[in-house]
């Protein structure tokens, strides 16, 4: 339904996208995961015909979006990162404006506004001015603007950033509903949990390219092994941790074990199979080492990211935030 091929885009000296290719099948809820500055927004802006790539092609529902932007736009609903509403208008007036911009006949426009007002729980406040809306209300209205013309493809750029819990769960529910109704939904996020819970498929983006792609289960499954966090005490001494590490490294089924200083000298392990944890517990007991806590989990998308880039998503996020240039970002976003 959506095909991005070999996209590259450079802003000054920054390579925002480097040969990025992506294919989103019809009717999927597709997640684009990556830290800030990975190129998610740039890719989505190109997809939505707001930005021309330096190289590459964009195809939406069989339409070449670069050659026929108008036809492509008719297939597209776009919910940008920055909420674009007019504070002076009421929500209804804003929707009416967008209905006209999408050339909906009057009746269909009214009907769609009524439907979306119900679907997104906007009935109580739709006739109030947007200036008084909360973040969640604005986001819902923005989504409604993107859905008015019943697009085949809905694109959302970090739709849940800064959203209250209620609005977020409503949004998730609506996105699933749309997917079930046959809409292709593409959303970007830097929240692992969100993509994990919501997406049928996902691509992890880093440094302007796709570094992993697939269903969440497959990506995590490919990593193999379970993640175990073991604490001797709440705050173990380095010596104790060292002792336990040596012991655990010798056990069968332990693939890897490291001491995590940041976690009070906890030991992070990757193990194979279900019986291993019990075996470890017994080993520690025999060597008179206490166990404060022992947690086991399947690999997460963060582990997928870690595997591919050598850093956690959180670290990448912090590095990206530190290196941000709001002025340059504004310039990229403005026409």
């Amino acid at each position: 339904m959506i095909r991005l091929e070999h996209l590259s885009k450079r802003f000054g000296t920054v390579e925002a996208l480097q040969d990025l290719s992506l294919e989103v099948p019809r009717g999927t809820l597709y997640g684009l995961l990556g830290p800030n500055g990975a190129g998610k927004t740039t890719a989505l802006r190109i997809l939505c015909t707001l930005l021309a790539p330096d190289a590459g092609t964009v195809t939406i529902a069989g339409v070449d979006a670069l050659a026929q932007p108008r036809e492509a736009r008719q297939q597209l609903g776009y919910v940008a990162q920055e909420v674009a509403i007019d504070k002076i208008l009421t929500g209804r007036e804003l929707l009416q404006l967008h209905a006209a911009l999408y050339h909906l006949p009057r009746e269909r426009g009214q009907r769609r506004i009524a439907e979306l007002s119900d679907l997104l729980g906007m009935t109580d406040w739709l006739d109030r001015r947007c200036g008084g809306y909360s973040g969640g209300m604005r986001r819902r209205l923005d989504l409604a603007c993107g859905l008015l013309h019943e697009p085949a493809v809905l694109v959302l750029d970090e739709p849940t950033v800064g959203l209250d819990i209620e609005s977020r769960s409503l949004l998730w529910q609506v996105l699933r509903q749309l997917r079930d109704g046959g809409t292709t939904v593409l959303l970007s996020s830097h929240y692992l949990e969100e993509v994990d819970a919501l997406a049928d498929r996902l691509a992890i983006i880093d440094g302007g390219r796709v570094i992993a792609e697939g269903t969440p289960d497959r990506l995590k499954g490919e990593l193999g092994g379970d993640r175990v966090t073991l604490r001797i005490r709440e705050f173990a001494t380095p010596e104790e941790a060292e002792q336990a590490l040596t012991l655990l490294q010798g056990c069968d089924g332990v693939r890897r074990a490291v001491i995590n200083r940041a976690q009070g000298h906890a030991i992070n392990l990757v193990v194979d199979g279900d019986g291993v944890v019990e075996h470890l517990r017994r080993q520690l007991q025999e060597h008179r080492l206490p166990v404060f806590s022992l947690a086991q989990s399947r690999p997460s998308l963060d582990d997928v990211y870690l595997q591919a880039t050598g850093r956690t998503l959180m670290d990448a996020e912090l590095a990206a935030v530190a290196g941000r240039d709001p002025k340059a970002e504004r310039k990229q976003a403005m026409r």
Binding site: L50, P69, R70, E82, A84, E93, A100, R129, M334, R335
Partner: protein, 285 residues
């Protein structure tokens, strides 16, 4: 990307519904601007109050000007009327770019641009329509005030001339302001430019004093100032029956008729629209 300011080449404007779709988007964008105006009328009110104050204060300031100072021996108030009318329209049009700039800054423009607009000219068109209608309302208010102050009223033909002159000036200045709104980085810069341009252009025109009254260099400036080309035909319309081939401006480089003044304005607006087109094409594609 292709030039989308005008109908996409793949689909010529002859395709059915193109005109009605263009009208639908332009009207919807206009409606938004008028709703904003209705809920925040302060700009309209200020746009009437400011020239009104000019008219009252400047009229009073020079009320005792010696007779014979002005060409034709008219009173200063009568002389000033045309200048204030033109200045009102000019100020309104100079601000035309501000709403567009705010839309750029708040991402609202991007929202408009992801919609499958028939032609993105509708964004420019809506602004032009909006600015033209509010500044005509402001002008009418000022003309009525001038009439009430005893500064006269143009005849029916004169009224037509006032309208044509103002439309040409509005087109030129709106084009300039829209060009600035897309060329400058933010509204602070745009407001700064408006601030710097506004009053000097007024003072360096024949709005407040005739060229004969000015030192040579200022006379030259005034005779090249587009505002002067709008002021003088309107002033002539206020002074009684007029003809297009009547000389209205005695410039240092020669005499100009009302018709020539209008021609200059027409060429100027056309030139400005043509020169901002590449910029608009680039920003809106």
């Amino acid at each position: 990307m292709v030039d989308v300011l005008h109908s996409a080449p793949t689909r010529p404007s002859a395709s059915p519904g193109a005109v009605s779709e263009l009208a639908q988007e332009t009207l919807a964008l206009c409606r938004r601007l008028f709703i904003q105006l209705q809920r925040r009328p302060s700009t309209l009110v200020a746009g009437i109050l400011q020239p009104l104050i000019w008219l009252l204060l400047f009229g009073a300031l020079f009320a005792k000007a010696p007779a014979g100072l002005l060409p034709g021996g008219v009173s200063y108030g009568r002389f000033l009327g045309a200048g204030v009318i033109v200045f009102t329209a000019f100020s309104a049009a100079l601000n035309a770019g501000l709403p567009v700039m705010f839309d750029r800054e708040f991402g609202f423009l991007n929202r408009l641009l992801v919609a499958p607009l028939r032609s993105r000219t509708s964004i420019v068109l809506a602004t032009v329509l909006y600015i033209t209608s509010i500044s005509l309302v402001q002008t009418l208010a000022i003309m009525l005030a001038a009439w009430a102050l005893g500064y006269g009223w143009p005849g029916p033909l004169g009224l037509l001339l006032v309208l044509v002159t103002l439309l040409l000036l509005l087109a030129a200045v709106t084009a300039l302001s829209l060009g600035l709104a897309f060329a400058l980085p933010g509204h602070i810069e745009l407001i700064a430019v408006i601030f710097v341009v506004n009053l000097p252009l007024l003072f360096a025109s024949t709005a407040l004093a005739p060229i004969a009254f000015m030192p040579g260099w200022l006379g030259w400036l005034a005779a090249l100032n587009p505002l002067t080309f709008a002021i003088e035909p309107i002033r002539a319309a206020y002074l009684g029956p007029f003809r297009l081939d009547q000389v209205v401006l005695e410039a240092p480089y020669g005499s100009l008729t009302a018709g020539q003044c209008l021609l200059v304005l027409a060429v100027l607006s056309l030139g400005l629209f043509l020169s901002i087109r590449p910029l608009l094409d680039r920003k809106l594609s």
